[in-house]
Symmetry: C4
Subunit: 228 residues, 4 copies
């Protein structure tokens, strides 16, 4: 697991470098699907002193396997998503500023441009509020449950993130690095959408043709962006 710990450590350190977190307000995990083990950031440890060997290993039921620290308090959210979605290899949670503002406003982030469409197919959804019961019993697990309800039968890699109501963004990808990449994109897309909506609150979403064009330039069998 040393290699995966190193990658998860570096993915966590990328969050402050990209300006996505204040203090310890974020966490990244990744899963080793063969062994059924998840590596995740420890809870409340400052980025300045954190080391790769401080990463915590748990199984998908949340049992501690390895580590001298408690795992992130958001671990049950990550595990709920890993159990449901085999496509997810890495998950990121942040309180990045503009994405969190949309979550506080309780609004989906509308698909207003090609920057958005390059990564997210359609609006970036905001979850429904949790009930008081869901908050009081297994709150973190229920955050994962409501994310899954919101995703429905969408391909999670075509909606590689969403915002939890009054809380903040969760993003994912095929591995931890891609999840962080999507978290950076979501914050920038949230900022652009916020700017556009303050100019004109009655904006129309992207035409279907343009949305398909941009998403398919980067994804799927006929992608022609990049070098592969």
């Amino acid at each position: 697991m040393a290699q995966l710990k190193q990658r998860v450590f570096e993915a966590n350190m990328a969050l402050p470098q990209h300006g996505l977190v204040t203090y310890t307000w974020g966490n990244v995990s990744a899963i080793d699907r063969e062994r059924g083990l998840v590596v995740i950031k420890p809870s409340g440890v400052a980025y300045e002193v954190m080391r790769a060997e401080d990463m915590v290993v748990v199984d998908v039921q949340g049992n501690l396997v390895e580590g001298h620290y408690r795992p992130s308090s958001d671990t049950p959210t990550h595990l709920e998503l890993y159990r449901r979605y085999p496509q997810m290899g890495g998950i990121v949670h942040t309180h990045s500023t503009h994405a969190t503002a949309w979550a506080q406003a309780g609004l989906d982030i509308p698909a207003l441009g090609t920057t958005h469409a390059d990564y997210f197919f359609g609006d970036i959804p905001c979850t429904r509020p949790l009930t008081a019961h869901e908050v009081e019993h297994e709150y973190e697990k229920n955050t994962g449950v409501v994310i899954a309800q919101t995703l429905g039968d969408r391909n999670p890699l075509h909606t590689p993130g969403m915002i939890a109501y009054q809380h903040g963004p969760f993003c994912w990808g095929k591995d931890a690095e891609e999840a962080v990449h999507n978290a950076v994109v979501l914050e920038e897309v949230a900022r652009m959408a916020w700017l556009a909506c303050t100019l004109n609150p009655h904006l129309r979403a992207l035409d279907s043709a343009l949305q398909h064009k941009h998403f398919n330039r980067k994804h799927g069998p006929n992608a022609y962006y990049g070098q592969k």
Copy 2:
């Protein structure tokens, strides 16, 4: 006092590092409760040339005990708060941009999300205006008086800061480091709330269950965030 001077010096230097102050627009103090002495930043000294030994020591009545500089002109505000609240070990005043904007708008910062609820229980209050008499006679002391009126019988560590009307934020904590931490949080929370309110001016505050959940994850007997 050399050790406390060093800590207060470093806490003051953290303000420009976190982007909370322009020029000399801020100050941090801490109190040694056993000796009844307060260490505070000198007035109007540039951060680039300030040294630990420039910190000023006064007693809680404001008498100069040690130091070759005048104490911060806001010292009477700090002392008024230290005299009233034994829970306060450190106090910070800044003119951080978004918190000050809410103070200029004369509005409480509404509790719109979990980022807020992790640190502040309920809205972050804005004080009432001072009367002309309060401004003209012992202005700085009266700023502390009106902060105390606004706090009322709340636990100051559950409302670890507020904004003074048309002025700016004051924050506190069990020591100077925690007070600075809360000042950073207040500014970020103020920024997120401003962004959310420009998207939708009619936002609802956090549900009570979610507010309790997040505040109690970090505070009180059943806290489970972090490592202790």
Copy 3:
């Protein structure tokens, strides 16, 4: 071509330095008019590992002349503009935040001040939407076509950039360096106009006299700004 590759490489590297791009979301090209060859950034290569020798050379019809990478997926847009406008020596495309927000809002950026008028004569236009057919057949080429339709018979060096609807800014100049300069200016002008319009949505454009004065201080036979 080694020298032009070096210049185009440096012009591309200037984009992240000026905060205009996230990840690989931008590209710069330049043309050697004598040889009819265009040098452009490769598609999807990270700025941190890109080298001058990775730049791709194509002819103005888009045939690969030199390079071990695919050219930018936006190459057909650049070529369409080079074929139509002999005055263009360099072209830049970014998704810079504020310019893209105006593109998503579908609005021309109004000429509100002298900062704008120093570089752009009149509003910075937003193109019309592409039709579904234009998106589905030769999308990138058609982006160039609609930019040309929008320019009409204007001198492209007096309108050295515009925003493509729901997409983002394209800028140009007599060479790659000037094109990058204009992209930096467009983003700053877009930011100022956004700020001004949120204060007052019913702003008037610059008077004609002031617009001519500022534009002609820097351009044309009687320019008196700078040292030439």
Copy 4:
């Protein structure tokens, strides 16, 4: 003049360090009142290559006294102000983002808080528009004339800056360093006022008592801020 050139050079270099200018969009000057000579930035020279010896010396009528470059194209504005106001020892012009946005909106920056009142007594005025004739004949000189009209009989050190309509801020002080300080303050005050006004467009200005209190803490015979 070598010493004043060095100071004016450093004051100019402080503008990009404080984030007030893009490219060459700003200039600082200072006057030697005994000799009647003004030192000012050369026109259009990049900050990265500018040296102290590149500063230009002119007399108060604008005649070139010393220098191998043309003076800033805004020199006649500076000279008009130096001729009228013996209190001015240094002048700064920038296109700093938020101050320029207020100028483009054509609005005075309202005195909304103590941050403002510490430096500016009352609103920061926006000049009237220049007439077409004023733009076409001695434009830069007339910019100084309209600033003086707007100041009226106010003490220029109590209103140490204003914004020129659809253009941007001009600031001044007893020397170049103080003028730059005031330009930094004006930009931050403009940003805070913009944020406050987007929360609540119907804000009230500071009470007279609070305004006098803060201004007089830093200015005049009974000042008690700082160390003098």
